[in-house]
Symmetry: C2
Subunit: 214 residues, 2 copies
């Protein structure tokens, strides 16, 4: 059964980094709230191509491995793909180079004129859609071939799916820092613990891993 | 050496209950964010006079016990004492009955005309002060007789002491609920993890206990 999954990064005070233009699209707070994740063996290998075996192998790494497991399609917002940062580049192909680390269809939500599909190396195709999120989700479910769907972000896209009751599994990695600025991860999500079962775990790094499952 | 301590209750999204008038001074979200604490053996005995031994005895209870240990004076805001709720009652003596569960001097910060001290049964005296928080803290340190000082709340008073760098130990009990309303616990406290050492622990109830110590 295909499940809809979201992984988010938050500070202790429920903030996530706000982007800061083309030079720093994730914003300067992205580093501190993802530091423990970036340090894992899985992230070093999967995202940075470091196959030396370096990196942490504890609780953070277990969540990082789960992040990459069993996904057949992804849905992301226009901002995460980069359409807001580079609105005038019709050939923009995302931040991830010629061979993005997806390997499956990625549906990009856009309210501007949809673009033609882009087929990348390694099995990733970017497909631009301007329909209702429920309709895009239905199409992504078809494309996922029985595997799960990841709603990749950004935070506004993630919250839209959560508010609409479309998410089965939410994982939030809460870094032990107080940001007091940025986007609010939990905005409009009052009572989420009543529709989902919650678990909490503290990693060796001090990162709190919170999951909501239904 | 006298230390300045604060204990706070928060939701997962960094909110704490906002009061709702004389009938419900703590607000309707106070119950959900303090439920695990109220369930402890220590709170049942110390606050509700239940000496039957009922109540939880795990991690939540360890923090509840610490809360009551080693305090020689308290500082609280006018709102927490009730001066904002009952501004026209010159005989208001707080919410805690004839024998409040303090047993030491309690300094009430007020920007309106200070009232005479009130001596209650059981060793509690309420002392109303309109000076700078640093000056009140100095007076409370004298009164604490070598024990610690608790800044009891509410959240605005707690944040004022934290922002001013006056707090040695902060404990936040984070309940596994999303409120998305109320006062923001962490507002204006960006970077607190850089001036204090942080620990995190998950209680049997799902409550997260976060401490900041310097």
């Amino acid at each position: 059964m295909t499940r809809v999954r979201i992984d988010l990064f938050s500070s202790l005070d429920g903030c996530t980094s706000a982007g800061d233009g083309p030079e720093n699209p994730m914003g300067e707070d992205w580093g501190p709230i993802t530091a423990a994740y970036v340090a894992t063996r899985t992230m070093k290998e999967r995202v940075f191509g470091d196959t030396s075996g370096a990196g942490t192998t504890g609780i953070d790494d277990a969540y990082a491995t789960a992040f990459f497991t069993g996904i057949g399609a992804e849905i992301m917002g226009a901002a995460m793909f980069g359409l807001h940062t580079f609105p005038d580049d019709p050939d923009w192909k995302g931040w991830w180079g010629d061979e993005p680390p997806f390997g499956f269809p990625v549906f990009v939500l856009t309210s501007t004129a949809p673009r033609p599909d882009i087929a990348m190396q390694g099995g990733t195709t970017f497909r631009f859609r301007d329909g209702r999120i429920e309709d895009v989700l239905a199409e992504a479910s078809e494309a996922a071939g029985g595997l799960d769907i990841r709603v990749g972000g950004g935070i506004r896209t993630a919250r839209a799916f959560l508010r609409a009751g479309l998410v089965d599994d939410l994982h939030v990695a809460i870094a032990p820092v107080v940001l007091d600025r940025g986007h609010r991860v939990w905005e409009d999500l009052r009572g989420l613990e009543q529709t989902h079962r919650m678990t909490t775990e503290v990693a060796e790094s001090g990162t709190l891993h919170v999951t909501f499952t239904r």
